[in-house]
Symmetry: C2
Subunit: 457 residues, 2 copies
């Protein structure tokens, strides 16, 4: 191991200044991500790479020593996908920040270290739009988005990260550099390997550059906010809407999240509502109006207590911001165990009811926000970390929510990734045959298992 560190330090002069960190104090910030896994390990070194060549050099050394590599973007993983393993080398992509937008092909070529919001901004400077929008878009890296096949609020109409990845440069477990795809909307030459690496959570290779597809700028959306006296009415309305319409956003907050956000923002949300929906349409003006009127009619039919509509994008954004604020607002109430379960839309009501039952049964607060139009929910289990008995109940509830989702034909993770935290439940969802197929691919690409060990597998 010390041999590896010495070799990494001898690489340092070929890299940008201060690239190789071995001081425990300086490495501390690279051990955890936002999942705060208490079992996080201690790396032997952190390398802040600046190029594909840097990554290749580090991977070659680590492979020779069979030392684990944990790749890290901005460290915002909510499932422990970028948590350090003991004795690993952390490859941090924070310095890989080049981006080049090509308006002619409506694509951009970007390195993994940029924040999602920076990719959006670079595209916007050319009148273009990169749709995927995790709630953490201002602080999460595009590399992490690729690793988890991240989603967000736009997915109900505009799909997820993989729908925008046309090509990439990836460093394999043995240090081989491979170029896949390119700025071509259609390309079926060879196997769909680009798509395989998207969502692989750093377990198959290290993505050092991506080609992303961009769209023309989104039209300013109109917004509708509706409150409901019952959860069933709210989820019923969602189900009715998604059958025939394509709103550009369809978000859900339950009473606990409404109140947490209201505590923080004092923006006048109805604390008595059982649920609130934030819905947007980005159709051209009159058509947005027509779409939201039809949606308003559905809300009324499902006994909405209040329906508010605005075509002022700023005013609409305030409600979207309220929805995004749910996680920070709930963090004020205690520690969070953050779920990411999804179900087919018609099962949304059963999922939300089932979560309420788990909450009552385990005696822990579970607030629910959701990308309702995708059936992707984020139950947020709030607990007091100093109360070990409560921690246990929270952890029991965490597993039960995933089991509930699996039982409803759903998924344990819609957009955050399996990471370290959810892998115990993965076989229950996938089944033995699909697990074995996952392992076969992993074995083929990383036979020594050095890439992000403990994640997924």
């Amino acid at each position: 191991m010390s041999g590896l560190v010495a070799e990494l330090e001898s690489l340092a002069p070929t890299m940008a200044p201060d690239a190789v960190l071995t001081d425990p104090d300086r490495m501390a910030g690279y051990r955890w991500d936002r999942a705060n896994d208490p079992t996080a390990g201690t790396p032997v070194a952190v390398v802040r790479v600046s190029s594909t060549e840097d990554v290749q050099a580090v991977v070659r050394l680590a492979a020779r020593h069979r030392v684990p590599i944990v790749t890290r973007g901005a460290g915002t993983s909510l499932s422990g996908g970028s948590t350090a393993a003991d004795g690993c080398v952390v490859i941090s992509t924070e310095r890989m920040r080049r981006i080049e937008v090509d308006p002619l092909t409506r694509t951009c070529r970007t390195e993994p270290g940029l924040f999602n919001a920076e990719v959006k901004a670079a595209a916007a400077a050319h009148g273009l739009w990169y749709p995927p929008d995790p709630s953490s878009f201002e602080i999460c890296s595009i590399g992490g988005n690729i690793a988890t096949n991240a989603g967000g609020l736009c997915c109900v109409k505009y799909g997820v990260t993989t729908d925008y990845v046309l090509g990439m440069t990836v460093v394999l477990a043995d240090g081989t550099v491979v170029e896949l795809g390119g700025p071509r909307i259609k390309d079926v030459a060879g196997l769909s390997l680009t798509k395989l690496f998207v969502g692989s959570e750093g377990t198959l290779g290290i993505v050092t550059e991506v080609v992303l597809r961009l769209l023309p700028a989104q039209r300013p959306p109109s917004t509708l906010v509706a409150t409901f006296g019952s959860l069933t009415d709210a989820t019923g309305a969602v189900c009715e809407m998604t059958r025939t319409m394509r709103p550009s956003m369809l978000e859900f907050m339950d009473q606990a999240s409404i109140n947490a956000v209201e505590d923080m923002t004092r923006m006048g949300l109805d604390r008595s509502a059982a649920a609130l929906l934030v819905i947007q349409s980005d159709e051209p003006a009159e058509f947005a109006l027509a779409e939201l009127e039809a949606i308003s009619e559905i809300c009324s039919r499902y006994r909405a207590s209040e329906v508010f509509h605005t075509d002022d994008p700023q005013e609409g954004e305030a409600f979207v911001a309220a929805r995004r604020a749910a996680i920070p607002a709930l963090e004020r109430r205690g520690s969070l165990l953050l779920e990411d379960v999804g179900v087919p839309i018609p099962q949304l009501s059963d999922l939300v009811d089932g979560i309420a039952a788990i909450s009552a049964n385990r005696g822990v607060d579970i607030a629910v926000v959701a990308h309702a139009g995708d059936g992707n929910t984020h139950p947020l289990i709030v607990f007091d970390p100093s109360d070990t008995e409560q921690v246990e109940r929270a952890q029991a509830a965490y597993g039960e929510v995933m089991e509930l989702a699996i039982g409803l034909g759903g998924t344990i993770t819609g957009e955050h990734g399996v990471g370290r935290l959810k892998k115990a439940w993965l076989p229950d969802q996938l089944g033995e045959e699909a697990m074995e197929l996952n392992r076969r691919i992993k074995q083929a690409l990383d036979p020594d298992g050095i890439l992000n060990p403990g994640v997924i597998f």
Copy 2:
């Protein structure tokens, strides 16, 4: 081998009547696809499976005997993707025709044997839409579409097959049945294996069921047709349009295809035009008008000789049908070698010019139609199969067109697949590292190489 045939025949009673064919006359129709590869082999048996269990039983036998398996949908491959190998078992999915549309999740679950048009029709019966639309949509199977990650005319706005595949049942090379994904828009649990099988051309597994994402019915499109006196003007206009707009169709025909179609249809196309664009917008009425007006303005700026606009969907469809008729129309003039090369949009002009140069240099006619908005072109090399010297020149041109595309940063196949016909050029496009990665995945999933041997690899 004869042992295998006897065992297959002993399986027959467990299957629907007349499932196992071994009579050479009855098997003849299963040897070739639309690529008409003269090197097509002779199968030892054709099994017309009706279920996943049938496929599993056949694969287990074939695997035990290490006999190749060629899976066949409707046999419309243009690249030899469903051409029989000598001594193989052909698994024909023509009888696997169940489909179930679920309007609540806006998905359908379908077996591979349905035609693309039948999937569209089943969706339409519920007011829903399955977008991918290869020109052969009335005669190509959805299973073949999955195998090639098929595209079509809608892709410029609505993406390709993989964008609509949410899950599948797949039989692996050893007969293991695996369920992947499901009717969930977001699901990142485990590796993105569904996406890996899409476009794998029957070389990694046999897809026996898929879950497809559907959209609400498309709005009736408005259509604009423009003719140009020069190819460069036409491709320049395309490039200008795709920078800022999202037409729902953007198709190109050159003079040779215009004339071939006019010979067949007598619909009054301008025979003197160097190029014709067929463009559609499916925005809401006035916005379609505005979009097509802006496009019309671009056409004028690029010296269009004539611009015609209609919001009558029937009238518009006549021009789309003309574009689709190009291949049958050119087939009247001789045999065709059908290309599928794509380039980044700004290189479209260089590609079209380069093809003209190859045509002149080799003294063979090459007509070009294109899904211009994707940069995906179909140069059609017309030759007299009885003239061996001309056949050689046509074949030389076939390779040169692919080399041209690769040199322009493009692909040898945008939507038809590599098949048997293009695999010699695949390493030039992908490079040695990506080829090796393709082989590693193939080796992991089909170590004995029994699935569609001779295709891609």
